[in-house]
């Protein structure tokens, strides 16, 4: 006679069958002496230790591989030249000054106006079971790209000065119609922008285990800090930009913003009105992300000594109020120290 199968379930089966009670049972152990921990063995406020490798791609101007737990992201930065004559509605900085707009107001927007930073995120097929082959970019990938793009601009980490390719005119016999606007300029040398570097920032998820934005952001930051732009000069005779392989200049990066995402796990699966027990899960993995509605992302920079917040993004629930937000900012500060140690 066959032996009776046991009536209790193994924990792996329990996790598959009812993930929410499984995570709840881990966070709320029946025996009070065991500390509450997540299914991945971490404490609620414990994030995964990041590992960063730079310059691993040979054909990119800068690259980085970032690994936090089982989330692995590779980012490559590749610069391409863009002639100002090829930009529709190009207005040189001098022309804007003449028009009476402040130089600071106009110059800060060159990155955005001419789309000099082009980030793209790809979630590779097979990096997680829910990414199917042969489908258009998912909502998640598109949302991540948009967030990355707007954070790159609003955090202002790339200095546009490093992306300009200048040409200093020696004589005035060049009679080029594109240079007409320089006529009013008094200063000698007639240095003008002939072209820009456009940075194509490609992010590929090799393995996806939750918290994609933090990892992608860290990869972009590490890759940009690793980026070296080749020396470029404008060749007057051929009217092209020529680059040399020698002495590439490192790209100037301002600050070190670090993103920290926290998911809110509520004890009640169907969120009822008011209260209830909840846990803040810092750096959630894929299982936790699928069970949490509310996520908060805080981006901080402490390079100047005091904490500067560069972005807060909270959606999907009502648990986090201003008090918890303050706590999450201090969690993000700790996370910043971790990344600072790895990045520099």
């Amino acid at each position: 006679m066959a032996t009776q199968p046991p009536l209790t379930l193994s924990s792996a089966t329990f996790a598959k069958l009812s993930p929410h009670p499984y995570l709840l049972a881990n966070l709320q152990p029946p025996d009070p002496s065991t500390p509450s921990s997540r299914t991945n063995g971490r404490q609620p406020h414990q994030a995964r230790q990041p590992n960063i490798n730079t310059s691993s791609l040979t054909h990119a101007h800068g690259s980085a591989v970032v690994r936090t737990g089982d989330t692995t992201v590779i980012c490559g930065v590749r610069g391409e030249t863009l002639l100002t004559t090829n930009i529709p509605n190009y207005r040189s900085a001098d022309a804007l000054n003449v028009a009476g707009l402040g130089a600071s107001a106009s110059l800060g927007n060159e990155l955005r106006d001419y789309d000099l930073l082009v980030p793209n995120i790809e979630l590779a097929t097979g990096s997680a079971p829910n990414f199917l082959p042969g489908v258009p970019p998912t909502t998640l990938a598109q949302t991540l790209s948009t967030r990355l793009y707007s954070q790159l601009h609003s955090a202002g980490i790339v200095d546009v000065e490093g992306l300009r390719i200048y040409h200093t005119k020696e004589d005035d016999t060049l009679g080029d119609d594109a240079m007409e606007e320089d006529g009013i300029e008094e200063q000698g040398g007639k240095r003008e922008v002939k072209a820009f570097w456009v940075l194509y920032i490609d992010v590929l998820f090799i393995s996806f285990d939750g918290n994609p934005f933090d990892a992608a952001w860290a990869a972009v930051l590490a890759a940009l800090r690793d980026t070296k732009i080749p020396q470029a000069r404008w060749d007057v005779d051929q009217e092209i930009v020529l680059c040399s392989r020698d002495n590439p200049t490192p790209l100037k990066i301002r600050g070190l913003p670090v993103a920290c995402t926290t998911a809110v796990f509520t004890a009640k699966e169907r969120q009822k009105k008011g209260g209830g027990q909840f846990w803040m899960l810092v750096d959630p993995d894929r299982l936790e992300e699928s069970l949490c509605d509310e996520t908060v992302t805080v981006m901080v920079d402490r390079t100047g000594g005091e904490t500067k917040i560069l972005a807060i993004s909270k959606s999907g629930g009502t648990t986090v109020g201003p008090e918890l937000m303050r706590k999450l900012v201090s969690v993000a500060e700790e996370r910043w120290n971790e990344f600072k140690a790895v990045l520099s």
Partner: protein, 253 residues
Amino acid sequence: MTVNTEPQALISHLPKADGSATFSYAGYTVVGAVNGPIEVQRRDELPEEAAVDVIVRPAAGVGGTRERHLESLIQSTLRQIILVNNFPRTLIQVILQIIVAPENEYVNAKITQASSNLPILPALLQTAILSLLSSTLPLTATLTSTALAIVPDQGGSNIVLNPTAREVEQSQSFHVFAFTSHNELILAESEGSFTMKEWDDVYARAYSQCCPPALSSDNDDAMIDDQRSAGSDLRHFTRSTMEQKIVSDLYWK
């Protein structure tokens, strides 16, 4: 460009949709339509709750990545408000068409832009709520949403409510908050550079804007004067708009 300072709304004006609303405020006009609960595609079906689908369509061109970003923010917010458990294995579709968005006269507008478009979020959320109310889907709460910017001002800085496109461009930081009618913070999006202290100030300002103390009949005048100075009371606006609609619908009785 004319910016209407008072919010305006038109409820249930689309005959084919289950619920619809047009909302205009602070230079934005959005048309919203809600269909639901309707049949859901097999792959989107959720066994225990209704799937909420939000579609945002821009005023010009086709939707791109930034519309997907807005959609995901609105979807996660509305999912908390609609009683999705009442309609398992169905779909609730919210379509938001932007009609008018204020332009920044100082820069050339680009139709396709990859960056996020947070300033329009309050108008979209408000339209979605009015459309949902018009469709009479059961909700746990309504919500009110507001946008604020911290604009540098002669050495100091100033919190500007419902900033113009130019003010957003010049601002140090830009914030969008949404509160439920139970005075809980449901959505917070902030961009730019700011400190925790500034965020607290902006939060307090947004809270007083979105969660005003309930109007009591005896000191009506004083309260209304207070709110005039601070901007329009959107929660009261939502309520009075729906009351008017119900009164006109029940006129035949």
